[in-house]
């Protein structure tokens, strides 16, 4: 039902705004997948903690920029905007939490965040496809 409501709401979205939403969601998807790869790489001892800290900081910054850009889109239906922003916020929180978990050498937490990012990535990908369909 919520998907149907979202689809109806998204249909009102103007072409340009739909393109912008798609572009921002692409950035979010890319950085969410990056965070997941960082988590997996750290868990497999492939990258140092200092890299996790710096790269997750950068990911959080980029996600914040994407969130701000999504906020500014006035022609975007609220339901789509809310779902996208919520997803971005969760990804940012996961980035921070992953950095803390790596600093504390907490592999269990890091594994949990990697799993969470996997689910979030799939959600963002689905959202992106729905926005793409509007163009």
């Amino acid at each position: 039902m919520s998907s149907l409501l979202l689809a109806v709401a998204v249909a009102h979205c103007s072409g340009n705004d739909a393109k912008e939403v798609t572009a921002q969601l692409e950035t979010v998807s890319s950085w969410t997948a990056t965070l997941q790869l960082i988590a997996e790489s750290w868990l497999d001892n492939r990258v140092p903690v200092s890299f996790v800290s710096r790269s997750t900081d950068e990911a959080a910054r980029r996600l914040k920029t994407a969130e701000q850009a999504l906020e500014k889109l006035e022609g975007v239906p609220r339901a789509l905007q809310t779902e996208a922003r919520l997803g971005v916020r969760h990804a940012r929180e996961a980035a921070r939490a992953l950095s803390i978990a790596a600093a504390a050498r907490d592999t269990l937490q890091a594994r949990a965040y990697a799993h969470q990012l996997d689910i979030l990535g799939a959600r963002m990908e689905a959202l992106k496809k729905r926005a793409q369909a509007l163009q």
């Binding site: 950035t27 790489s41 492939r46 800290s53 990908e125 163009q135």
Partner: protein, 405 residues
């Protein structure tokens, strides 16, 4: 025997000099965003690069003059000064971007912010230029540059699908929605491969190495084998990015993302190999771009120039590379994103390519200077095609940077 040794060393040197932050970033972006679809631009850029490098080396070996010197003498200082100023700007941007690459590599290895590494990186390159001779600089960059072959081995270890690679070697059109990004990356790849500094450095290097007419075949071998070998590394970087990032939907917008590219092929060493490759490639490129700027400036103003001589014997030449490195270091210590600067730089490279290609077309037909080594019909036809292509790139590169970058 000496020439065969020079040929072998020249090929190694070309590998060190060919691959830099621009090649790495654009190849990785292409692989991550379009898998193998943009492989053809790498091949096209390499063919053009081989051709122009061969011309610049042949011109220098036969005439005993580097291109800027000859252009100034042929067309006059007033005609040359505007292209010269544009080239100085492009060189400065490239120097800053390469210093950023060294600093970022140091950040990856130490965890210390890259801004703090920018000035030490510039000082390290300056010391190398100040203390070493041309051959010393050339060969140390070449030997260290071999580490960048890890991208080729990485691609082989991940079993790149040959049929897809062959398909990517043929030009194809992108999906309508991705056209701006596709063409932006295509132009950037060519802009990174045909960087102006390569030709000015190469032709001046031929004079430093005392090439003469008997070196024409050595030049042909170095330009063909060396540039092809160098292009192989760019292809390796594209393939690795295509195999690691594209299936996950990761676009390369940051060097931090690119740093993960070798961790699948080399689980334990991949991260360090990437950082070392980036650092070494950028040290080699910074040395070459900085020397190229010093050569360009000295040849434009008719100053004495020789890296093989002590700095006090060529004080204005040494002052140019000292100042350029200082400015580059200061710019990068301000915190500019090296990747963004690199993308702007390669787009600008593409925009100024006619300044490089048109003098080639004119000078290579001067039979008073080149005698039997002047361009024939085949070379001239290909050169005209290159000039037309560079004019097209000059028109589209900046709009594409705005739309697709």
């Amino acid at each position: 025997m000496k020439k065969i040794l020079q040929l072998a060393l020249g090929i190694l040197t070309s590998v060190g000099g060919f691959f830099d932050i621009g090649n790495l970033v654009t190849a990785m972006q292409a692989g991550a965003s379009f898998r193998f679809q943009l492989l053809w631009t790498l091949l096209l850029g390499t063919v053009i690069c081989i051709f122009l490098v061969e011309l610049s080396g042949r011109f220098a070996a036969v005439s005993q003059k580097a291109i800027p010197e000859a252009v100034r003498e042929h067309f006059g200082f007033k005609v040359w000064i505007v292209p010269f100023l544009v080239l100085v700007l492009v060189h400065m941007m490239t120097i800053a971007a390469e210093i950023g690459g060294i600093a970022f590599a140091a950040q990856l290895l130490t965890g210390i912010d890259f801004r703090l590494w920018a000035i030490p990186a510039a000082i390290m390159v300056w010391l190398l230029l100040w203390r070493a001779t041309f051959s010393g600089v050339e060969y140390s960059a070449a030997i260290l540059g071999m580490i960048t072959l890890c991208f080729v081995f990485g691609a082989l270890r991940q079993h790149a699908p040959m049929n897809e690679l062959l398909a990517g070697a043929q030009p194809t059109l992108p999906h309508k929605d991705e056209a701006a990004q596709y063409w932006f990356i295509a132009v950037s790849i060519i802009g990174a491969l045909i960087a102006p500094y390569l030709f000015y450095f190469y032709s001046s290097g031929a004079i430093e190495d005392r090439w003469d007419e008997t070196y024409v075949w050595v030049n042909r071998g170095v330009s063909f084998a060396g540039m092809s070998f160098g292009a192989l590394i760019s292809i390796g970087a594209l393939v690795v990015a295509a195999l690691v990032f594209e299936p996950r939907g990761i676009r390369v917008d940051s060097i931090n993302q690119a740093a993960l590219s070798l961790t699948e092929a080399f689980p334990f060493w991949g991260y360090a190999l990437f950082a070392l490759s980036l650092g070494v490639a950028c040290v080699g490129a910074t040395v070459e771009v900085t020397l190229s700027l010093a050569y360009l400036t000295a040849q434009t103003f008719g100053w004495r120039w020789r890296e093989n001589e002590a700095p006090y014997a060529n004080s204005r030449f040494a002052a140019v590379y000292t100042g350029a490195l200082l400015i580059g270091g200061i710019v990068m210590s301000s915190g500019i994103d090296p990747l963004k600067l690199t993308l702007i730089t390669v787009a600008t490279n593409a925009a100024v390519l006619p300044i490089v290609s048109i003098p080639f077309l004119l000078m290579m037909n001067d039979r008073r200077i080149l005698r039997q080594h002047a361009n024939g019909i085949f070379s001239n036809t290909f050169m005209v095609v290159i000039v037309l292509l560079t004019l097209l790139l000059a028109v589209v590169s900046i709009p594409l940077l705005v739309l697709g970058g």
